[in-house]
Amino acid sequence: MATLVGGVCTSHIPAIGNAIARGLEDEPYWRPFFAGYPPVRKWLEATRPDVAVVIYNDHGLNFFLDNLPTFAVGAAQQYSNADEGWGLPTLAPYPGDPRFSWHIIESLVRDEFDVATCQEMRVDHAFTVPQALLWPGGTRPVRTVPIAVNTVQHPLPTPARCFKLGQALGRAIASYPDNSRVVAIATGGLSHQLDGERAGFINKQFDLMCLDKIVEDPHALTQYSIHDLVRLAGTQGVELIMWLVLRGAMTTRVRQLHRHYHIPVSNTAAGLLLLENAA
């Protein structure tokens, strides 16, 4: 059976992709942020996963409001990227793993998560930036299964629902009759707000509490409503729900192997967690 070798939760700010493209990692603004990543890269080199399940939110590249799924699973041979309207450098496609995708889809729907399925899916910075951070140099060492969670159109799925989706995802991975080594990657957060007169809102105290609770007591976070998260973490801080999907896929107890937190990257408090199943 497939093995979930670990989980990485990381922010996915587009400016990071630009900084990488322009070689700014050692600039004073960027150095404290990029300094968080070498331990995770080392862990990946040692652990050598074959496939990454990437839980992220599309920011209006693939999905529009005409047809916006709450949860969508990619089932394509490969996933292409685009400039998203900002002239971002377009990256080479990411290899998919359709057989694993369909196993996950079958398992999730059997578990009463009626996901949308996508045989064509353009992936945005929330999918590409974390992989550029984890595997620098544009290499594509893993096959990928994208899982997109709606954070554009309210109502968004509740934190509790996202945690349960993660539990179902964990069962799907564990029941895959294959020896694949799987890493789960959740992208987004932590606190930030791009829109409205409250733009620029960051809540360090809340973020640090979330980092603790994701590891030790994720159920505490499932008690929040989306509206609570908007108030406490900002309109885009709701991306914490991706981290809850990942946490649900892992065992009740986890080991935290690495943590990093840095303010600010662009408008965002950047967070990073590396977790392994404990029991």
């Binding site: 400016a15 920011h59 209006g60 590249l61 529009f64 409001l65 005409d66 685009a82 400039d83 998203e84 309207g85 900002w86 002239g87 554009v152 159109q153 309210h154 109502p155 968004l156 707000q193 791009l194 829109d195 409205g196 007169e197 409250r198 733009a199 620029g200 960051i202 809540n203 360090k204 409503s225 989306i226 509206h227 908007v230 108030r231 309109t235 840095h262 303010i263 600010p264 662009s266 408008n267 408090a269």
Partner: protein, 118 residues
């Protein structure tokens, strides 16, 4: 429910993009979504008014676009993820639009972000 919360328990300076806003902003957001493609951005640049008309923007939305007024776009149903693609046409990032929405200079807005670390 977030829709009820947005009405009963508003968060100052914050727009919850619920069904009501999505309905109001559909044409504006659809136009901004089109800016994912370079050819659409070029067509907009050539004749802004014609491009707005093609997507059926209302007067309020056309004025907001003409004035590059992000708060007015939000009030007329714009969603920030699509609006960011509009801002991208002018080389503006999320810090530029943050400064505009908060009425701060870009430097002051950046200083506010950096201060959140402490």
């Amino acid at each position: 429910m977030s829709v009820a919360n947005a009405t009963i328990d508003p968060i100052p300076g914050t727009y919850i993009f619920d069904g009501e806003l999505a309905l109001r902003g559909y044409a504006l957001n659809k136009m901004c979504y089109s800016f994912n493609d370079a050819a659409s951005r070029e067509e907009f640049r050539r004749d802004e008014d014609a491009y707005c008309a093609k997507f059926g923007l209302n007067e309020e939305q056309r004025a907001a676009i003409r004035n590059r007024d992000v708060l007015a776009m939000l009030a007329s149903g714009g969603n920030v993820y699509y609006l960011a693609k509009f801002a991208g046409i002018f080389g503006l990032g999320v810090q530029d639009i943050g400064a505009q929405q908060t009425g701060m200079t870009l430097d002051a807005f950046r200083a506010k972000l950096a201060a959140a670390a402490h």
